[in-house]
């Protein structure tokens, strides 16, 4: 795996950021929701204006992924919230420090410094969590503040997964208010708005600067017991970054009051263009970042193919020898198949999160390639092993009695005989990889997942389809491609009959 990482790192050299090298671009990350995208675009423009070369890595997934990426220098800066810093990042690292909701900016800075991370001043708005309902529904039930919910334990609640899991999210809220909601489920934040509009759920968690609160005529319930802490927006950055980075980021401090942020969020969602929102922040007319669909599609598809191609090649190079090994009689077979099988059961997002925390990997295509490589391994290993094990004893023994050495037996007899099974395994891996590679966008690896994830965030079906349709076509192409490969690679003698 180390070798693979090196190989993919070498192949992708130039795209791999090294924060300390001055010629490398400044890498700006963002989480996968509108406001974070917009803030990253604004920072991007601020830096471009001061002559820095930048690279955007938008929509990189959750807090921990970004924090790890920042810590390792894979990203130079990203927008964060003080509440998240306290509750999600710093508290678990050292609970003894007694981070409280009142910890001020100076205290937070002191705690971040040991990680080589700095923090700008507040940008100007507090985007705290809130519970939101449709105005009409809230009025008819007489719900205005969170404590009113105690009388309505059966209302369906749809929560983002992060909010559901955080101590300062749902669990803490319930215990503070003594809520016993009976009908709570986790959904994607964007999908939750749709479900709310349809009435499938009545209550969602929302960010207080969310554009849709105004757009869709929602009300936020008053936090009558002051449960939600302050979530002041700031930028986190690498302390060793180019001083111009800090200068550009600090120029944003205090310039974004809540109303302004809601406007920008709304603009981004309406125009489905984050860079337009950023341009509006700087009062620019024509956003310079505009790619026609065909160019984007080529870029996404090219990257997607690169991810799948490299990972699949690695799976084949490692999987076939492992399968040969596992195909031999003895207990080793079970161990190898067991381990590769377990890898496959790890949910892809969890695997990505684990891999991102490995210092050599971090954020970016190399990590996605390693994850896809691991996923692609099992079908190839299993099919190689079973293809070899299915070779009949007379054939096996004839090749031995003929006087072929073990290596020649393998290459001239056994592997050709197992070729059908091995190819089927490679095909399975390829199809799995084409699908799973859409998740690579979550860790900034690009590919056809990029439009899917932005589309989900913008509630833009067309954008989702721009990624989903090519991905599906690619999977079909892989299927047909393998039908052709079958004819090419499976010896004719095996295709003549069911033999």
């Amino acid at each position: 795996m180390r070798l693979l990482a090196l190989v993919s790192a070498a192949l992708l050299a130039g795209q791999r950021p090294v924060a300390s090298a001055p010629l490398q671009p400044v890498v700006i990350g963002s989480k996968k929701f509108t406001e974070s995208y917009v803030l990253a675009e604004i920072a991007n423009r601020a830096m471009e204006r001061s002559g820095l070369s930048t690279q955007l890595r938008p929509g990189m997934g959750g807090t921990i992924i970004l924090w790890e990426a920042l810590r390792q220098g894979a990203v130079t800066c990203y927008p964060e919230y003080t509440g998240t810093l306290r509750e999600v990042i710093l508290k678990p690292i050292d609970p003894a420090t007694g981070m409280t909701s009142t910890s001020n900016v100076q205290q937070l800075r002191e705690r971040l410094a040991p990680f080589g991370v700095g923090m700008t001043g507040e940008l100007g708005f507090n985007n705290t969590y809130a519970l939101a309902m449709r105005r009409q529904r809230a009025d008819s039930l007489g719900i205005h503040q969170i404590s009113d919910l105690k009388n309505h334990p059966d209302l369906p609640v749809g929560l983002s997964h992060e909010f559901m899991g955080r101590a300062d999210g749902w669990p803490g809220l319930c215990s503070r208010y003594g809520l016993r909601m009976r009908n709570v489920r986790g959904t994607d934040h964007t999908l939750a708005y749709l479900a709310l509009a349809k009435g499938e759920i009545n209550i969602i968690d929302a960010y207080s600067t969310d554009a849709r609160i105004a757009e869709e005529d929602l009300v936020t319930l008053r936090d009558d017991q002051d449960f939600f802490p302050q979530y002041q927006a700031v930028f986190l950055y690498r302390l060793e970054a180019d001083p111009r980075v800090l200068k550009a980021l600090r120029s944003l401090e205090g310039t974004l009051p809540e109303r302004k942020m809601i406007q920008l969020n709304a603009l981004a969602e309406r125009t489905r263009d984050y860079s337009k929102a950023a341009a509006s922040y700087f009062h620019e007319r024509n956003p310079s970042h505009h790619h026609p669909l065909s160019a984007n599609l080529a870029r996404w598809t090219g990257r997607h193919l690169l991810l799948v191609g490299l990972s699949l090649s690695a799976s084949i190079l490692v999987g076939i020898p492992l399968g040969i090994w596992a195909g031999r009689p003895g207990g080793l077979s079970e161990i190898i198949l067991g381990i590769t099988g377990v890898v496959q059961t790890v949910p892809s997002l969890a695997l990505l999160a684990v891999l991102v925390s490995i210092p050599m990997l971090g954020i970016g295509p190399q990590t996605a390639i390693v994850a896809l490589f691991l996923y692609g391994l099992l079908p190839i290993v299993r099919n190689t092993a079973s293809g070899l094990q299915d070779i009949s004893r007379p054939v096996r023994e004839s090749s031995e009695a003929l006087g072929l050495e073990p290596r020649a037996r393998l290459t001239k007899v056994f592997l050709p005989l197992a070729s059908r099974s091995i190819l089927a395994g490679i095909k399975t891996s390829a199809v799995i990889n084409v699908g799973t590679a859409t998740l690579a966008a979550l860790i900034g690896a690009g590919g056809l997942g990029e439009p899917i994830i932005s589309g989900l965030n913008l509630n833009d079906r067309a954008l989702i389809l721009e990624g989903a349709v090519p991905a599906a076509l690619l999977a079909l192409l892989v299927q047909t491609g393998f039908a052709f490969l079958d004819r090419l690679l499976i010896p004719k003698g095996l295709r003549l009959s069911g033999a």
């Binding site: 007379p394 054939v395 023994e397 004839s398 090749s399 031995e400 009695a401 003929l402 006087g403 072929l404 050495e405 020649a408 001239k412 007899v413 050709p416 005989l417 070729s419 010896p491 004719k492 003698g493 095996l494 003549l496 009959s497 033999a499």
Partner: protein, 270 residues
């Protein structure tokens, strides 16, 4: 018909000079060999010498150990005790490969590789060892004539061959590199009776022509009597009696031998 065949074979000027083993040197010898599979005794300790240039037939009821002996000689399995000698060399992992290449081995269903044509099957080892293609082509033509196989059949894959053709190809593969010993494990058992009868006649002619050390395993007494210079009758992993067929028939060593021979003769032969 046999006379005609032998004449064909021997008069043919493309045939090589019959391969006479140098000084009849390479007998295969089993010294104190026994074989146990998971505490089941397949062979009791046993001494056996196979005569050079002669056809020895291993025969006996199912499970008597006759195939086990062949598999020990070609090194597919290792003896539990004792040793196997080939030209006074003791078989061991270090020399197994080299010795196997000096033997030919044919099994019941031919053991042909299904992904290769008959020609590729036959030439696999020769090509792997980088033998001169020209010589191999001549050798192949010669063997096709010997086994009465049309060369056009060689372009087919094993699934496209009849049972008889498959065994002929398998025999050619075994003989390709002029082995000093030919091991045949029930080579005709899977064939229908008419094809089997034809091949039995042909095998006899081939053996006589090659004058090679042949060890044949069969469960059919008629085949053994027809092909074998020496018959080794096995019973439960031990030799019941060894000698020419006439001796076994006329002077059976014990009741098992006479019963085995009489039971099979009642079926009509010979």
């Amino acid at each position: 018909m046999l006379d005609k065949l032998e004449r064909d074979v021997f008069d043919s000027d493309v045939m090589e000079t019959p391969q006479v083993p140098k000084g009849f040197a390479p007998p295969i010898e089993l010294v104190g060999v026994s074989k146990t599979f998971d505490s089941v005794v397949a062979l009791s300790p046993l001494d056996l010498k196979f005569e050079p240039g002669k056809t020895s037939v291993l025969i006996g009821p199912s499970g008597c150990g006759k195939s086990t002996i062949l598999r020990l000689i070609i090194g597919l399995i290792q003896p539990t005790t004792g040793e196997i000698r080939f030209e006074n060399q003791v078989l061991k992992p270090g020399n197994l490969l080299e010795i196997r290449r000096r033997m030919g081995y044919v099994i019941q269903d031919g053991g042909l590789f299904p992904h290769l044509t008959a020609r590729e099957n036959v030439l696999l080892l020769a090509r792997h060892l980088h033998r001169a293609e020209e010589q191999m082509r001549a050798r192949l033509a010669e063997l096709c004539q010997l086994t009465r196989l049309s060369e056009s059949v060689l372009a087919r894959y094993p699934v496209e061959l009849s049972g008889g053709q498959r065994q002929r190809v398998s025999l050619i593969r075994a003989l390709m590199l002029r082995p000093e010993v030919l091991l045949l494990d029930e080579p005709l058992a899977a064939l229908d009776p008419m094809v089997r009868a034809t091949l039995q006649s042909e095998l006899k002619a081939i053996f006589q022509h090659l004058r090679q050390t042949v060890i044949l395993v069969t469960h059919e007494l008629a085949e053994a009597a027809w092909l074998g210079d020496q018959i080794i009758l096995l019973r439960q992993g031990a030799v019941a009696q060894a000698g020419p067929f006439d001796t076994l028939r006329d002077c059976p060593a014990d009741e098992f031998v006479s019963e085995f021979i009489n039971t099979q003769r009642k079926l009509g032969l010979p």
